[in-house]
Symmetry: C2
Subunit: 135 residues, 2 copies
């Protein structure tokens, strides 16, 4: 079951510049930057409890965020719902016809199990589901 | 000062279908639909306290959301930060070089004072600031 809006992600071409923007101009708290090797993405989180703003940027100038930036130059990238049972939600949504970008969850930021629903299944919006491994 | 992520908005081509999706498939609570004549937009809110998902759809088949859908077909549209002093934040951000879509706040959904920052000022992201008139 979906229990919260975990975060929304913004793809940014210049991570340091955008971290500065969200800290200094918008006054948000900067939690730190995490490099997700499996997703070829660097992420910077700004908690607005219980949700967060996440900046995403290509790690080593490659990967899906690099493709997004090459095409769109930056912008709102995805939203993430927190679930309390990711496997059950995947099965339930597949049954309803939703397509996913992978067959199984991977380990993403904050050491969570994560999976992405294909944007074509949801009005062009890339939706992530995540669940902490400890829950 | 920005105090919260008030909502994120998704532009949808079929409002009823998307309301059904977020209620039935994602299990969110549907608060209701509000027609914002000044913005030529219909909005449907799904509270995930203290934030919300907002679906936006053209009112009377015209306006800025209509233009967005004609170009992009649907997708993440904007995010909205709640501020406790919208006039002070507008002045502060203008001083830093941010451009806004209007000179003054208008009245938007939930009877809030609202204003939008131009996407070119923020990595292609349309950012709304809002403040309840009672605060």
């Amino acid at each position: 079951m979906i229990v919260a809006l975990d975060h929304i992600a913004i793809a940014v071409p210049d991570l340091e510049k955008s971290i500065k923007r969200f800290m200094e101009d918008f006054g948000l708290n900067y939690e730190g930057t995490e490099h997700i090797e499996s997703a070829k993405t660097s992420t910077a989180f700004f908690p607005l409890p219980p949700t967060s703003i996440e900046l995403v940027h290509p790690l080593n100038d490659e990967g899906p965020v690099k493709k997004y930036l090459d095409k769109k130059g930056g912008g709102l990238h995805h939203l993430c719902f927190r679930t309390d049972d990711i496997e059950a939600d995947i099965a339930r949504l597949k049954e309803k016809g939703y397509e996913f970008l992978s067959d199984e969850p991977a380990i993403g930021a904050h050491d969570c199990k994560v999976i992405f629903i294909h944007p074509k299944s949801c009005d062009g919006v890339l939706i992530e589901l995540n669940q902490p491994q400890t829950s």
